[in-house]
């Protein structure tokens, strides 16, 4: 297999795929970088002068940028927290032999198959609406004032919606990890006098660490680019209360027609995502090594 000859052949045969992937990434990236240095406004196509770093300067000094950065981190962190803790508890529950286990597992998984726009609209109109929503009805039935979630706690509401979508994913991955737990280890810990809580913290949680790492990494990738849920519920508002970086880039380039500024924002988002990735891999990447 591993003769010099076959290795050369393998490289040669891989190259079309690699080149295609490279072009797929390099071309849009370099175009974005190019646009980010232009004064490029859709309302004024005549001007396409070189802008230097002014687009970056403008984007980074915009007060909306720091609001959006905070919101992005809160959104990612909040959803991760809810899905990991909730997912672990749900997985522990689903691992128990219960009646109708198959149906329950499918029901738990269902939210993951609902597309983001649809689930956000369902939450917005059927649950969180202050007049017709289920939460409003429940509040009224208890004699309380209905709470206008999306107006008064927009970011929290979006975190709730996104967490609801991602909870099944976390629960599923953690459930499979739980099922690979060695039964003899559990028996041994029982003989050693470990109660349910000690067993969870000393055995189950360390066993789950790898799965939790996978969940954190995968979810972070997707959560950094949450967009649809914001667009259909709050449009980033009120003010910038629920705008994240992705939404800000969209607003810059397609609501304010400033393609140059939007591109600069896009490049900044790429850099931020990489910083997050480096930190994550530093912090938890060692869990992935066997």
């Amino acid at each position: 297999m591993a003769t010099t000859h076959s290795r050369v052949a393998a490289r040669f045969m891989l190259s079309p795929a690699v080149l295609l992937l490279l072009a797929w990434m390099i071309v849009p990236l370099s175009m974005t970088i190019y646009f980010s240095f232009l004064r490029y406004n859709l309302l004024n196509p005549a001007i396409d002068a070189w802008a230097g770093w002014s687009n970056y300067e403008y984007f980074l000094t915009d007060p909306a940028f720091f609001a959006a950065l905070t919101n992005t981190l809160l959104l990612v962190g909040g959803v991760l927290l809810i899905t990991i803790i909730g997912g672990t508890l749900l997985a522990l529950l689903l691992d128990q032999p219960i009646w109708g286990q198959g149906i329950v597992r499918i029901l738990v998984l269902a939210p993951f198959f609902v597309m983001p726009t649809v689930s956000a609209l369902v939450w917005k109109n059927m649950f969180m609406n202050p007049v017709n929503g289920l939460f409003a009805h429940a509040a009224k039935a208890l004699g309380l004032q209905p709470f206008d979630f999306l107006a008064h706690a927009p970011l929290f509401s979006i975190i709730l919606i996104v967490a609801w979508q991602w909870l099944p994913f976390a629960a599923l991955i953690l459930l499979t990890a739980l099922q690979s737990m060695d039964q003899e280890q559990m028996d041994a810990s029982e003989m050693d006098g470990a109660g349910p809580f000690s067993r969870f913290f000393y055995l189950v949680l360390p066993h789950l660490s790898r799965a939790i790492t996978v969940v954190v990494l995968i979810q972070t990738i997707f959560l950094l680019s949450i967009f649809a849920e914001i667009l259909v519920t709050t449009n980033g508002g009120p003010g910038y209360a629920s705008t994240n970086i992705t939404y800000l880039v969209y607003a810059q380039s397609l609501l304010q027609f400033d393609v140059g500024g939007g591109s600069a924002g896009g490049i900044i988002a790429v850099i931020l995502a990489n910083i997050v990735a480096i930190f994550l891999m530093r912090m938890i990447g060692k869990n992935l090594e066997a």
């Binding site: 280890q185 028996d187 003989m191 050693d192 006098g193």
Partner: protein, 332 residues
Amino acid sequence: MGSITLKQITKSFGATEVIQPLDLEISDGEFVVFVGPSGCGKSTLLRLIAGLEDVTSGMIEINGVDATQTPPAKRGLAMVFQSYALYPHMSVRKNIAFPLKMAKLPLQDRDAKVEAAAAVLNLTDYLDRRPGQLSGGQRQRVAIGRAIVREPDAFLFDEPLSNLDAALRVNMRLEISELHQTLKTTMIYVTHDQVEAMTMADKIVVLQAGRIEQVGSPLELYHKPANQFVAGFIGSPKMNFVTGAHAQKHGAETIGFRPEHIAISQSGGTFNGIVGVSEHLGSDTFLRVNVEGMDSITVRADGEVALRHGDSVSLTPAPDKIYRFDKSGNAL
């Protein structure tokens, strides 16, 4: 203290009765081996004693006290598992200290006990490694270490040597026997290997299909098997069984004689046959002799026997070493 009494213990999984009503007395300091073929319920019986499974009916007494409903950790027993069941993310030190930590022992006491156990088991150099970095034999010792720090009333071993290679198995067998000599604690040991049972046990319990076939010392079982199953199970190579006219001459349904109790001659013996396979081990030679009209007979001869495939021989079992069994397999 470490006496265990089982009174009319049964265990069923659904409709299948895995352990039939069973009585057993294990006295303090004894080395008891449960032996039997796969699926005979020996591991289940051990788990019942450990408390990892609930008995369906009957009573378990430990040190004269009813422990049927006592949770596993409170029974004062320690168990060594077949897969060792070490905690993979903890160092050897933490693994051994885990039961002490769960018992909320102060840190200094814990360290002292772990060091002492490690010294007994030659693990001192490995205390800060993870189980994944140890060899099979070392992992086995860690598992034993985790059991001995608890200073239990009895040790339970569930096929602890079956994951080791043959040479290491012999070594660990000796180490466990030595440990028993030093600690003088009751040990219950489950195995399907009759050699392990014969070499280690004070008392062997032979099980089959959830029933005790016979209880006794290794030599008792060898010399006076209660039935055909025990006779066939204990001893290596297996005892030869002959039915039909030869057995009727001895007034039995079946007769049995061990391979080591057969005399070989050129002619004039009880059975005449042709050597099928001869296995030369140096110290012994095992001959499989094909005799007309019956199963082949295994003979254990001395290492210098020059018989080869195709040679014809005549076999005579020693008359005082013939075991007789009735129709239902019980010894006469």
